[in-house]
């Protein structure tokens, strides 16, 4: 005999009594059930406390006069519930109230065969743990193969556990499943971004949640979390198997995630190799490479405009590998069905037009890219992206030419220090001159030396930012203060201090130009390769 008896509430949750309705006495659903027996109204006083009495239609219908009698007899005998045929009419209010007062659950079912109910309930009353094992077995069977996607995971787990399920990412965004469960997550104090995530159980009864991390790397942070509403009567012997069942599902889904990652990785590498070939030997492309490029939807003929996207600030919670796919999805959403290819500096893609385009005018492309980058940044707080756009160039060799310009433009964009910065290499642009300058590591190193005393005096970088802003604003302390959100006097004070620290004289036009360039280049992680 087990030590923790099952309750009528738990038995009903098992779904063994289809279409049942709790008509009254719901607070008694927590009473332990010792035995479930078929009964007659006048046998009730002889039943043992903790019994659940089941009546056939001949013995009792829940709207006849005998119900009050049955409820009172059952309350006196310490029964844990009455199950009987559901009335055709509404059950009288006084009966409901009596059942409530005596905390005696009154369960109505449309069609009742007492023997069948007793047989169905009996095993679970004798050994409640088998109810949990049933769930566990069902989940183990369903998740022998990893689910095809998040949706499949959610629907399979929902069916097996019988509770709503949601899949959320490490930043608590709903990926799939029940929005109501996702909403419950708000109140739960669980930190999903933990470096070493552990399964958690929150709240009590129907407001609680069971959470389990999905980890692609067993020692890494959670890729996402499986969130399941806590079964209403899930305590003790019933809850543990459900937790284990969710763990199995999480493991199975982790396999799916890892498999996806490997597949994507392989695909990216193949694209990357192909792109290298195009960039390096555009004139000697083999027929097989041309064929593969065509299969990917890459066009080699026509006029090409290349774009390079780079990451300028990366918060810990964001994985670079996931950003590639997100970029591709977002670009497609914003009307650019392209396949970004991972490069050392970031991602590269290009658009192609039939006619000779104006190399200086990228058209609506800039707007699209800005919107795309802004949308991605909005999803990940702290993330900064920038992009450069090359000029339009014809033929397979034009891809490489435009790509090089895009790379230079991206360097410029990095120096802009603003969200979703996008720069276009314009043939006549002064920025192109700057791109050449920024591209020379030795010159950059020399000018960076100029700012070294400021960094030493103020590691927070406030002095450098103030200086840059002041020079950007044509030496206006007022304008710089407005941009930085500080008072002009503060700007003036900082400028006095900067003038003391700098090994250069801001009154001298040459010095001043060198210092301005240095402030633009500082704080950017230059890729020296």
């Amino acid at each position: 005999m087990n030590s923790v008896p099952i309750t009528l509430g738990q038995l009903l949750e098992l779904g063994l009594l289809p279409e049942h309705e709790v008509l009254g006495g719901a607070s008694g659903l927590h009473r332990p059930v010792r035995v479930v027996v078929g009964s007659d109204v006048h046998e009730i006083p002889e039943l043992a406390p903790g019994s659940v009495a089941v009546f056939g239609r001949e013995q009792l219908v829940l709207d006849d006069l005998a119900v009050d009698l049955a409820v009172r007899l059952a309350g006196s005998a310490g029964l844990s519930g009455i199950i009987a045929a559901h009335p055709h009419r509404r059950i009288p209010f006084v009966t409901t109230r009596l059942a409530d007062r005596l905390a005696l659950p009154l369960i109505g079912v449309p069609d009742i065969a007492p023997a069948a109910v007793v047989t169905a309930f009996d095993p679970y009353v004798r050994a409640p743990e088998i109810a949990g094992l049933k769930v566990l077995g069902e989940v183990a069977r369903r998740f022998q193969r990893p689910p095809a996607d998040a949706q499949a995971l959610v629907s399979s787990l929902t069916a097996a556990v019988g509770e709503p399920v949601a899949l959320v990412d490490a930043e608590s965004r709903l990926l799939a499943g029940d929005p109501a469960v996702h909403a419950l997550l708000d109140g739960a104090a669980v930190r999903l971004g933990e470096r070493h995530p552990v399964a958690a159980t929150t709240g009590t009864d129907d407001e609680g949640l069971l959470l389990h991390p999905v980890q692609a790397d067993p020692s890494g942070p959670a890729v996402c979390w499986i969130v399941v509403r806590r079964p209403r009567f899930g305590t003790g012997v019933l809850l543990e198997p459900v937790r284990n069942a969710i763990a199995i599902a999480a493991l199975s889904f982790a396999l799916h995630v890892a498999g996806e990652a490997v597949r994507t990785e392989r695909e990216h590498r193949r694209r990357s190799l192909l792109l290298n070939e195009i960039l390096e030997q555009p004139e000697e492309l083999g027929s097989r490479s041309v064929e593969r490029a065509t299969a990917l939807g890459w066009r080699l003929a026509g006029w090409h405009t290349a774009v390079q996207v780079q990451v300028s600030a990366l918060p810990a919670a964001v994985r670079v590998s996931a950003l590639g796919s997100e970029l591709e999805e977002r670009l497609t959403e914003h009307g650019m069905p392209v396949t970004p290819v991972e490069r050392a500096e970031g991602w590269m893609f290009w658009t192609t037009s039939e006619a000779a385009a104006d190399p200086a005018d990228p058209g609506p492309l800039i707007g699209w890219i800005v919107r795309t980058l802004a949308a991605i940044e909005a999803e990940h707080p702290g993330l900064r992206l920038c992009a450069g756009i090359g000029g339009a160039h014809p033929g397979a060799a034009g891809i490489g030419r435009s790509a090089e310009q895009a790379r230079q433009a991206a360097l410029l964009a990095r120096t802009a220090h603003r969200p979703a910065a996008v720069e276009h290499i314009d043939a006549a642009s002064t920025r192109r001159l700057l791109a050449g300058w920024y591209g020379t590591a030795a010159l950059r190193g020399a000018t960076a030396e100029l700012l070294a005393p400021l960094d030493a005096a103020d590691p927070s970088g406030a002095l450098v930012r103030t200086l840059r802003c002041y020079l950007d604003c044509q030496s206006s302390a007022k304008a710089a203060g407005e941009v930085l959100g500080i008072h002009r006097n503060t700007v003036m004070q900082r400028m006095d201090r900067i003038a003391e620290l700098l090994p250069a004289d801001l009154g001298d036009p040459d010095d001043r130009l060198a210092v301005h360039l240095a402030t633009r280049a500082v704080g950017v992680e230059w890729d020296e390769s």
Partner: protein
């Protein structure tokens, strides 16, 4: 563990704890307001298990203001000799009578259907009642033992008309006329009782929604409020019965002869094992024969000459054969009881509300059992079970039930084996058990 019990009547409200100790008393307001004050000021934090109310006996004026009652008798062609409401006083008849009809149906003494229930006629009757009748009384021949036709007709009427439908079979009385008359009076007074119960229910649902409301019957036992509203006649005499029960409780005993002395009269009664001895006679209300069998203690008027003699005779009659019972005296009555040892409990003025707060629930059976198929023992068992069921439905805890012996009267004047059996079951009220998971 158990909560407080409250008794309330027109003069006072009292709350008792589980040891019957008085926790709070209120006087001098309407029952609803006294209850409200008791719950909000005196025992605010405590849990109230139940409230037992003593409603005042209905005034003739209330009968006058009562609903017009439609009467459906099921019994043609067997029972048409005396039509419904035939022997009623003209005044009451004029006040209360709505549409009246007799339809085919009913059972024989042995359960055979004497005529199938004429459902079409019942439906037609219902149409005729719409907008006229404020309540309906239904009574069927042999409807006590075989209530199917009454129930069918009542269900049909309740569906068609949204007014109370009272069945004769709800009153444990032998004769069809008595059951029918009781049902008519009950139906007429439903609204008046509803109004009184409603005031108390409103207070309870606001302050103590889990407390159960009971109403005291004329024998000093309780009915759940939702059933009391259908049995106004059964509530008559509750105040006096409560005072007798309360006096016995105050004296700390279960059985006693009680003398309640008032300025105008002395009331002499007896309580034994929680029951008042039956009067053995049916009560007439406003000159109408009913099936109500409430006990009536002897009332000796002080206004007439020779009070001491008449009082002495009444007391001697009440004590005859019960010499062992103590005599409990409420009020000031010294000389006339000289020579008899008496108990004069304190708090005598609260006897009625205390009697209500400590009241029990009972069920009685008094009918003729046809012994065609089974033997006498079987009939007795059935009578006892019916009485026990009635007591439980009135609110008694089945575990505490005790019974009077089954009194049998052979009905030798009928040509079949039959016996009139009388039995009463009574017990303490059922208290909810705590949920311990």
């Amino acid at each position: 563990m158990s909560g407080l019990r409250v008794g309330v009547d027109a003069t006072a409200a009292v709350a008792l704890d589980e040891h019957d100790r008085i926790r709070a008393v209120r006087h001098g307001d309407t029952p609803a307001r006294m209850l409200e004050q008791l719950l909000t000021r005196d025992i605010e934090a405590a849990v109230i298990d139940r409230v037992v109310a003593i409603l005042p006996d209905p005034e003739p004026a209330e009968l006058k203001a009562g609903a017009r009652v439609a009467v459906l008798r099921i019994g043609a062609p067997a029972t048409t000799a005396i039509p419904p409401l035939a022997a009623w006083p003209a005044r009451e008849l004029a006040m209360l009578a709505g549409p009246v009809t007799v339809v085919r149906g009913g059972h024989e003494y042995d359960g055979r259907v004497s005529a199938p229930l004429d459902l079409a006629a019942v439906t037609e009757f219902a149409h005729g009642c719409a907008g006229i009748a404020g309540a309906v009384a239904v009574a069927g021949v042999h409807g006590l033992e075989y209530p199917e036709h009454e129930r069918l007709a009542a269900a049909l009427l309740a569906e068609q008309l949204s007014v109370p439908v009272i069945r004769g079979g709800e009153t444990e009385a032998l004769g069809l006329l008595e059951r029918e008359n009781t049902a008519v009076l009950d139906a007429a007074m439903t609204a008046a009782v509803d109004a009184r119960i409603g005031e108390l229910t409103a207070v309870l649902s606001a302050r103590q929604p889990n407390a159960e409301l009971f109403v005291l019957r004329g024998d000093g036992t309780v009915l759940p409020a939702h059933r009391a509203r259908r049995h106004a006649t059964a509530l008559i005499g509750a105040a006096r019965a409560a005072a007798l029960h309360g006096a016995v409780r105050l004296a700390g005993t279960a059985s006693a002869v009680v003398v309640e002395a008032r300025s105008d009269a002395a009331v002499v009664g007896r309580v034994r094992g929680g029951l008042l001895p039956g009067a053995g006679r049916l009560r007439e209300i406003a000159g109408i024969r009913t099936g109500v069998r409430t006990p009536r203690p002897v009332v000796v008027s002080r206004r007439q000459a020779g009070f001491p003699d008449r009082f002495g005779a009444a007391l001697a009659r009440m004590r005859a054969g019960h010499d062992e019972l103590p005599v409990v005296v409420l009020g000031d009555l010294a000389d006339e009881i000289a020579g008899v040892p008496v108990i004069r409990p304190p708090d005598g003025e609260l006897a009625a509300v205390l009697g209500a707060a400590t009241a029990e629930a009972a069920g009685s059976v008094d009918r003729i059992f046809w012994q065609g198929a089974g033997d006498r023992q079987e009939s007795a068992n059935r009578a006892r079970r019916l009485a026990r069921d009635a007591a439980v439905r009135a609110g008694a805890d089945p575990r505490t039930l005790r019974e009077t012996p089954v009194r049998a009267a052979l009905t030798t004047y009928v040509p079949v084996p039959a016996a009139r059996l009388q039995v009463t079951a009574i017990g303490a009220l059922l208290q909810p058990a705590p949920v311990t998971p």
